[in-house]
Symmetry: C2
């Protein structure tokens, strides 16, 4: 089950990952979004999450998420919605504008990432299929 990777493969995989993140960062920069902001918007593509859940997904402190959402909200990319039955809880949702930007950015990304994969020494494992970007 799955030909496991040796030390060189690991190095190559880390290297390729850095290259990809560099591209994500670059595309993000074109939209004036940080890597973290891009990650957050990517996660919110198909979900509505509470602040604490976002923190969990991103591996960051709740206080960091507050600022992150503040800035995204100020730009109209996301909105905060107060939970009906629990007044403490806030849920974050992409606006339609946010959705549009994420869609465009994702398309840009695909273009940039393809050549990296082709030169990575890594290949998709035939067709397993089970997408989602988070």
């Amino acid at each position: 089950m799955a030909p496991s990777a040796d030390a060189e493969d690991l190095d190559r995989f880390v290297e390729t990952s850095f290259a990809i993140i560099a591209q994500v960062t670059r595309v993000g920069a074109e939209y004036d979004l940080s890597l973290t902001a891009v990650r957050m918007l990517g996660i919110l593509r198909d979900r509505v999450l509470k602040m604490a859940e976002l923190a969990e997904y991103l591996g960051l402190e709740r206080s960091t998420i507050s600022g992150l959402v503040d800035r995204a909200e100020r730009r109209g990319l996301v909105v905060r919605e107060t939970h009906a039955s629990d007044g403490r809880s806030t849920r974050v949702r992409l606006t339609s504008d946010g959705q549009a930007q994420v869609a465009r950015a994702t398309a840009d990304l695909a273009t940039r990432i393809t050549p990296i994969i082709e030169n990575s020494g890594l290949a998709p494992k035939s067709s397993g299929h089970s997408s989602a970007i988070d």
Copy 2:
């Protein structure tokens, strides 16, 4: 040549990359090093570079590198060496302490990354071989 990736593969690759970077970030945090600091030290593993070259490798401004190297130098991980024949040029080199930390961190990383690769839907392309982590 090389079975090229479809849209789902791209998504999966981006997702896996984020997962890996999250692990690199986590291991870095254990050594109190940022993702960028880890990248820098990784690059310097087998090289001595000028400030401007480091900026190039990392895709950052020279002014950012100044601060980054400042902090790493303050901790004894790297040293600045003035070029003999060109008084403007500074070269950055890992100290032996820096080398030791990078070696340890790299080993830690391998442990954490292996399972991600196994579940990534991606596989090393047989044996091409040509390592290096930068």
